[in-house]
């Protein structure tokens, strides 16, 4: 393939994955979260916006999605006085673009085996740094929140922005270190290779159980959800770093957050839950190591998405179960417990790997 074709296919895949699946899930999540939390708390949740009349109660689902979208589009786009106009405008964009870019390295379906030549049809860019690229981009998203908060010229926003910066930087360390254990076992940072490795040995959750728990904790902190929602703690900071945002800019911020949740779920599924591997089902490959695509591939993509939904559900469930930490508890947990534990996890992994070999 020529460079032009590569770029063209990359863009097509990007649009298909990011706008066809990720944005869709993120949008539906905004409603599903309200619905799930309602049922958890013995409430009913939003069920009023019937689009086809009351005879079709499930149509309220579509109605609420549409009315939410309409609402953010037509609301007043308020800009606080003496705010930094350009940064205030750029903030949501800087927050959401990294969240989109994360999807470049996530394989949605089976690709060629490690070492085999060939294109990966379900991956936008087959980077050899793989997940490391993801972390690089993920740490950029902290700029979106912090710059937006700074530009808002409000004390609430500023505090929220500072907390975001501190929290995300702290927990990114743990998040990354826990994946290092997985990289060590499978000898690659490409998610595709890691998933193939999990099919041959065992899923990451069994090889790295401590790593999985720590990753789960750090990922919730990374997506700024309760019990780690200090950056946007509504009882203390109104809405944290996006207090001064309204209408579409606000929607972009919260959409970015939801995309982050989906992205973290995707990484967790790839590294710990076997990606597109179906348990006890081997992927057929031809002589050169390229999988033979067929109905099984469709099932594998479906199972990947299904695992993602399960993981997102778990994140939501935790978010609506636990109360918020205090700020000092958050920092203590991050630096004094999670970080040493993940380092210990690495050392133990290394020793076991040496002993087994």
């Amino acid at each position: 393939m020529s460079v032009g074709e590569l770029i063209l296919f990359g863009i097509i895949k990007f649009i298909a994955i990011v706008f066809g699946w990720v944005m869709l899930v993120a949008t539906v999540l905004t409603l599903m979260e309200r619905k799930q939390s309602a049922f958890m708390q013995n409430r009913v949740g939003p069920n009023r916006a019937f689009v086809f009349g009351k005879k079709f109660p499930l149509s309220a689902f579509i109605g609420h999605l549409l009315s939410d979208a309409l609402k953010v589009l037509v609301k007043e786009d308020f800009e606080p006085p003496r705010a930094n106009k350009w940064l205030h405008l750029l903030g949501p964009g800087i927050a959401v673009i990294p969240a989109w870019l994360l999807w470049v390295v996530i394989p949605f379906g089976p690709g060629p085996m490690p070492g085999a030549e060939g294109d990966h049809p379900f991956l936008i860019a087959n980077l050899n740094v793989g997940v490391l690229f993801m972390f690089a981009v993920m740490s950029l998203s902290v700029y979106g929140a912090t710059l937006g908060a700074w530009a808002s010229n409000s004390a609430y926003s500023l505090l929220g922005g500072l907390r975001t910066a501190a929290q995300m930087i702290s927990y990114e360390v743990t998040l990354g270190l826990n994946l290092v254990g997985v990289f060590m076992i499978f000898g690659s940072t490409r998610l595709n290779d890691i998933i193939w490795g999990q099919g041959q040995s065992a899923w990451g959750i069994f090889l790295q159980p401590v790593g999985f728990v720590l990753f789960l904790v750090a990922s919730i902190a990374e997506t700024k959800r309760a019990p780690f929602d200090l950056p946007e703690a509504e009882s203390e900071l109104a809405a944290g770093y996006f207090t001064e945002y309204s209408s579409m800019r606000f929607a972009v911020y919260s959409l970015g957050e939801f995309i982050g949740i989906v992205a973290v779920a995707a990484v967790a599924v790839c590294c710990f839950l076997g990606g597109w591997q179906i348990p006890w089902v081997e992927t057929p490959v031809d002589a050169s190591g390229v999988p033979i695509y067929g109905w099984l591939t469709v099932a594998q993509i479906a199972i990947f998405l299904f695992k993602m939904v399960i993981f997102i559900w778990l994140q939501m469930q935790i978010r609506w179960t636990l109360p918020r930490f205090r700020y000092d508890q958050l920092m203590k947990l991050g630096w004094l417990y999670l970080l040493p534990l993940s380092l210990l996890n690495l050392v133990v992994t290394a020793i076991i790997m040496y002993a087994v070999r």
Partner: protein
């Protein structure tokens, strides 16, 4: 003042680990989620406009005016209710009924529901059982203040025959 030292429960090792407790909490919320998705047993929300809750018998709702035997207005325009009214929301204009026993009748009888505080004093003051607040209905929302001034005709629409004796002389 001395400080009161509250004795806090000691945490066991499992509780200090936090994760087992998190799992317990998740079990509780997940149980509720599954239960409510499939059976809706624990949901206490009422779907209000469709599913109305009956009010208690003594609920003071919108006013109504009762009828006499000929389905005319029972009120004799004695002004006791509008005198008793602490909010001054009852406006009565009296007229001659042309009857020896009952001299007056209300030419107009208006209640400003926006001003009314639903205290029920009018009902208590009435010697004729003419005004009642037992319709069990809310004041309805409207787009103009004028619609909230309900008039004699509307008040009588909700009315009913009363078997009570009219106060005062005669009947």
């Amino acid at each position: 003042m001395a400080t009161i030292h509250v004795k806090r429960p000691e945490l066991t090792f499992a509780e200090k680990l936090y994760i087992p407790e998190v799992v317990k909490g998740l079990a509780v919320t997940t149980r509720q989620l599954v239960k409510n998705v499939f059976t809706r047993k624990d949901i206490t929300t009422r779907q209000y406009p469709e599913e109305k809750r009956p009010y208690p018998d003594r609920f003071r709702g919108r006013h109504r005016l009762m009828w006499d035997d000929d389905k005319n207005v029972r009120c004799v325009a004695c002004m006791l209710c509008s005198t008793a009214c602490p909010a001054n929301c009852i406006h009565i204009v009296a007229g001659d009924r042309g009857d020896d026993k009952v001299e007056k009748y209300p030419v107009s009888f208006e209640i400003d529901l926006l001003v009314c505080i639903y205290c029920g004093f009018c009902e208590e003051a009435c010697p004729c059982d003419a005004i009642r607040m037992d319709s069990g209905k809310h004041p309805l929302p409207s787009f103009s203040r004028d619609k909230q001034r309900i008039r004699k005709v509307q008040l009588l629409e909700e009315g009913d025959f009363s078997i009570a004796r009219r106060g005062g002389r005669g009947t």
